[in-house]
Symmetry: C2
Subunit: 108 residues, 2 copies
DNA sequence: ACCACCTGTCAGAAAAATCTTACAAGGTTA
DNA sequence: TAACCTTGTAAGATTTTTCTGACAGGTGGT
């Protein structure tokens, strides 16, 4: 089971990258897109985008759904999920209390 | 000059680390402390804490002030600044527009 | 002088994140 | 068949972040 602190940490790590901020921007502004198209829009390689998208999806900030286009091609569409994270000294301190210990034998 | 996107990115990177979340927690819960004392509380080495504190301070999330104790010793006290960052798809997309380009010859 | 604190910083190791290149496979169209 | 689009992934290099250990200096007390 993942604690609130661990989930906050994962979300922060997912957002703390310029490419991933731009990915959110592109999906939020232009709406849902598939991977190759998004790679062209942002201007990065597709394998690299794939890595960033996985990080965002693992953190629960975006979702993907495989769809078939009219021509029968399988396109993987991504869209932003409606997250809402408030960062204040109090909320951070509160979440930090439930962080997993740094020991080696603790992660689930 | 640092854009809103760059400042958000710096804040996110500063918070995206378990040690630094714990630092915020300790300072917020127990109030202001000096470096060596904080290192003992959290259980990390002083040079390592120094590194994390610098990152938090660069991002504008904590401040430090050198003070003289009653015994005349110079103690460097840290405290949390009252930050308030809201993370939503809209706010992130908005900030991402002002991110510095990834080119090599752009940082000021 | 010595010990016990405090401060900072530097060099190098270790770990994690990032990025590129190349491969493998599917479908559609000519 | 070949060309063009899509998908994923794996290996290896590069870069960044994290961490340790050692050093240097300050003050106060024994």
């Amino acid at each position: 089971m993942k604690s609130e602190g661990d989930r906050l940490l994962e979300s922060l790590a997912a957002l703390a990258n310029p490419h991933r901020l731009r990915i959110i921007e592109a999906l939020q502004t232009n709406g849902r897109t598939y991977v190759s198209q998004l790679a062209r829009e942002i201007g990065i390689s597709r394998p690299l985008l794939h890595l960033h998208l996985r990080k965002l999806e693992d953190a629960g900030l975006v979702t993907s759904r495989l769809e078939l286009s009219d021509e029968g091609k399988a396109l993987n569409f991504y869209e932003v999920l409606p997250f809402d994270i408030a960062l204040t000294p109090t909320s951070v301190a509160d979440a930090a209390q439930s962080l997993s210990p740094p020991s080696k034998t603790s992660e689930a």
